[in-house]
């Protein structure tokens, strides 16, 4: 046999070695040599470990982060909270400011004021005043041919000294446009005796009530009608708990108004997101389990393959504890290395999936690192110690004889 050492150590030394604790540098050397000498096998075991850690990291990272991504995606459905003045009154003048302060950047709040005006031929039409810049962010589904310029052109003082405002540009719902301004011509509306000249800037199509309304910039609307906003539509961002907290805070901050969750939006989102999350969780579980089983089978094969080393060490007098410790240390080192490399790759994979699908990066979750490392080490330990406990019962001589 090729492993017979040229010099047999003194018996006394063997005895003393047995009683002494294993030398750390020797253990390290054995670990290193095992990895270097059996590069191929060690590499394939490490590869399996890396694949498993990558899969686990990527899936867990996605699972945590994708919900936030989907939530911001679902905010395209528009307002999920509505603040309405009680009993058809107007909201107080600082209601919008209060709402924005309560949101503190965690959503968009858009005021709406409504009035019924009359055209020259006596037809009623709903006129709404709002903040066009904010509406564009809130109601992304509005199909608008051209947004009115929110111009700050100073009032033109003519020779008479009376300020003459330039004609106000309005956004006209497609049904209102067909009835009132079919040729895109300017028109006049009156509200309680006060008239206003309007030029259509573009048409608006939503398929809902907005189609039969005329939208004006809020300041022009207020100057003309004297009506304050009666509704604030809010798209609050965050998880259902955060949205509920926002609703509670708004209710407290605006006691004079009704704060209502838009159930249609909230429940639809919860449902779709819940199903997506459950599918994702199943997928994550299945993938991680497969990867773990793959590691298990590769590592078991690796350890079985080294039964010769095991037998030699045992024949040379290594204690059971030392052997267990050696293989455990080896497995733990492998698991930790694999986990670290896999974590780095997994974060990259998650980021790539986030970029490819959501056009936004998935932030690496370093809080997952301890879990991934621990999981990898546990799987590695199980797959190392399982075959050891089987081999322990076998006489070294049998293995060395190649049986």
């Amino acid at each position: 046999m090729s492993f017979i050492p040229t010099q047999l150590p003194e018996t006394a030394e063997v005895v003393s070695r047995r009683t002494r604790k294993p030398h750390t540098s020797m253990l390290l050397r054995m670990l290193m040599r095992a990895a270097v000498l059996r590069r191929g096998r060690a590499a394939s075991a490490l590869l399996a470990m890396i694949v498993a850690a990558t899969a686990a990291t990527a899936m867990l990272n996605l699972y945590v982060d994708v919900q936030a991504k989907f939530r911001s995606e679902f905010r395209n459905y528009g307002a999920n909270v509505v603040v309405v003045a009680k009993d058809g009154q107007s909201l107080s003048a600082d209601a919008l400011k209060t709402a924005n302060a309560t949101l503190s950047g965690r959503g968009i709040a858009v005021p709406f004021a409504y009035a019924v005006a009359r055209t020259v031929d006596g037809r009623s039409v709903v006129v709404a005043g709002t903040d066009f810049e904010q509406v564009q962010k809130l109601d992304k589904w509005w199909s608008v041919t051209a947004w009115p310029q929110t111009s700050n052109v100073p009032a033109n003082t003519e020779a008479t000294g009376i300020p003459v405002r330039p004609p106000t540009e309005a956004l006209i719902g497609i049904r209102a446009a067909a009835a009132i301004s079919p040729k895109n011509q300017p028109f006049v509306l009156s509200f309680q005796g006060r008239t206003l000249q309007l030029t259509p800037a573009g048409t608006l199509q939503t398929g809902a009530a907005e189609d039969s309304r005329i939208y004006l910039p809020l300041d022009s609307f207020e100057a003309w009608t004297g009506v304050q906003p009666s509704t604030i539509e809010i798209a609050a961002t965050g998880s259902p708990e955060e949205v509920n907290a926002t609703i509670r805070n708004l209710t407290q901050a605006l006691p004079a108004a009704d704060v209502r969750p838009v159930r249609q939006i909230l429940e639809g989102e919860a449902r779709v997101l819940g199903k997506t999350r459950a599918t994702l969780l199943y997928a994550a579980m299945v993938i991680i389990l497969t990867a773990a089983l793959c590691v298990l089978s590769t590592l078991i094969g690796w350890v079985f393959d080294r039964k010769r080393d095991f037998a030699i060490m045992k024949a040379l007098g290594a204690s059971e504890r030392l052997l267990n410790g050696f293989f455990a240390a080896e497995a733990a080192a492998l698991g930790a290395t694999g986990a670290l490399i896999g974590f780095a790759i997994g974060v990259g994979v998650a980021a790539w999936i986030g970029r490819a699908n959501f056009h936004a990066s998935v932030a690496p979750r370093f809080s997952l690192l301890p879990g991934v490392v621990a999981g990898c080490i546990v799987v590695a330990l199980i797959s190392a110690l399982l075959p050891i406990s089987l081999l322990r019962r076998v006489e070294p001589a049998m293995i060395l004889r190649g049986e």
Partner: protein, 417 residues
């Protein structure tokens, strides 16, 4: 001899073959389940997205301008035109009828309930209808899934009504009480909560609203909930500008636009329009979820391919002695490789079939527990999955086989790695 070699190899090395087979089975199972889920998730999620409510609305073609603030129509009821209730079942006769999840007619009537001015909304709750030989059920319980009722839903042929939760609180009414509308008493079947304008209204069966308005068969608008395909360049084109072939393709695709077009054909003097808030966002949400599942499926396929390759490499590595013996007895590289590849293919086919069955069961389990419905598995998947299994198994074995064949038989037989 070759067949015998293969046969004996399987017979004598049951444990190793089993291990490799299990690895292949797991890999194929995961791949099958993920592919099945990914191909079906579009369908499943678009059904879930229907919980956002109707994505199409049908109104009379020559309607007067709506004067609606906060869900209350300020038009006098004599104003404007109506659709005909008897035309409703025709919706189930159009080309894309199977994509119609449900529809709800609406007829708002301004009423006074105990000195409170409000709207009575006539609609279908869960009404059985018949078109031709087909029976179906439709109404708000299908199209407005966020409507919650405390108490019971009224029957569509009853005189019972639902009271909006805020209105009920103001009137201090409870399920089972009577409410008087235009001199007639109606039983309150339940209290309705929608988080929207209906919370201040009365919701009644359509026939009740028509009688109060004294317009039998009248419907103001119809909300239609349809399964649609995300719109693309073709969907947005004007059907009038298309040539006949293109028009057929457009007409036979379940775009929200073409379904609107068909609704207009089905219901005379009507105008159908997509509700953009719902219809436009559906497409993006759907494509995001589908995209995510596709990428994850690719990752799963990659992982299981690596797992199978690793298992095969291990299995072959363990058989160096055998290779050495064969080569020592004069077997050529080609015949040794042929033996291993045959074994790998056989293993891939056996493990692949078992994995396919397991993966299909897993997909069913996921479908049932997540979506409450089974996931359809295309039969065309079987050959595709088996082909992938064979390619991955042989590919994973190739490097190991090459190394095993190159290894000097002398060392292999002496047991030196």
């Amino acid at each position: 001899m070759f067949v015998r070699l293969v046969y004996q190899s399987f017979r004598r090395q049951k444990r190793r073959k089993l291990l490799a087979g299990v690895a292949i089975m797991l890999g194929v199972g995961v791949a099958t389940a993920m592919i099945a889920v990914a191909t079906d998730i579009g369908d499943k999620i678009s059904r879930e997205l229907r919980s956002y409510g109707a994505n199409l609305v049908v109104t009379p073609q020559e309607d007067s301008l709506e004067v609606q603030i906060g869900g209350v129509d300020l038009r006098p009821p004599s104003d404007g035109t109506y659709l005909n209730e008897s035309d409703l079942p025709k919706i189930k006769g159009m080309f894309w009828r199977h994509n119609i999840v449900g529809f709800s007619p609406m007829l708002p009537v301004p009423v006074q309930v105990e000195s409170q001015k409000t709207t009575l909304l006539g609609t279908y709750f869960h009404r059985p209808l018949r078109f031709g030989k087909e029976d179906f059920v439709t109404g708000v319980r299908l199209t407005h899934s966020w409507w919650k009722v405390e108490g019971g839903w009224p029957a569509d042929d009853s005189q019972d009504v639902l009271l909006g939760t805020r209105l009920a609180a103001r009137l201090q009414q409870h399920p089972g009480d009577q409410v008087e509308i235009r001199g007639q008493g109606y039983r309150i079947a339940g209290i309705l909560s929608t988080g929207s304008v209906e919370d201040d209204q009365v919701v009644a069966p359509l026939a009740v609203a028509q009688r109060i308005l004294d317009k039998p068969g009248a419907v103001r608008r119809i909300y239609v909930s349809a399964l649609t395909k995300p719109e693309d360049a073709l969907a947005k084109r004007d059907p009038k500008s298309m040539n006949p072939a293109l028009f057929d393709r457009w007409y036979c695709s379940p775009y929200v636009q073409s379904i609107a077009y068909q609704l207009q054909e089905a219901i005379p003097h009507s105008h159908a329009e997509q509700i953009r808030q719902v219809a436009q966002n559906e497409g993006t949400a759907l494509s995001r979820i589908k995209g995510l599942m596709l990428l994850i499926t690719l990752a799963a396929l990659f992982t299981s391919a690596l797992a199978v390759s690793a298992a095969m490499a291990t299995a072959i590595f363990e058989r160096r002695t055998e290779v050495g013996l064969m080569r020592a007895l004069g077997a050529g590289n080609a015949s040794v490789a042929a033996l291993f590849f045959t074994e790998a293919t056989l293993l891939a086919l056996l493990g692949g079939v078992a994995g396919f069955v397991g993966g299909a069961l897993l997909a069913q389990q996921i479908g049932r527990s997540v979506f409450g419905s089974s996931i359809t598995i295309e039969p065309v998947l079987i050959p595709v999955i088996l082909a992938i299994a064979v390619i991955v198994t042989c590919g994973g074995s190739a490097a190991a086989i090459r190394r095993a064949v190159k290894f000097d038989p002398v060392y292999a037989l002496r047991g030196e790695a």
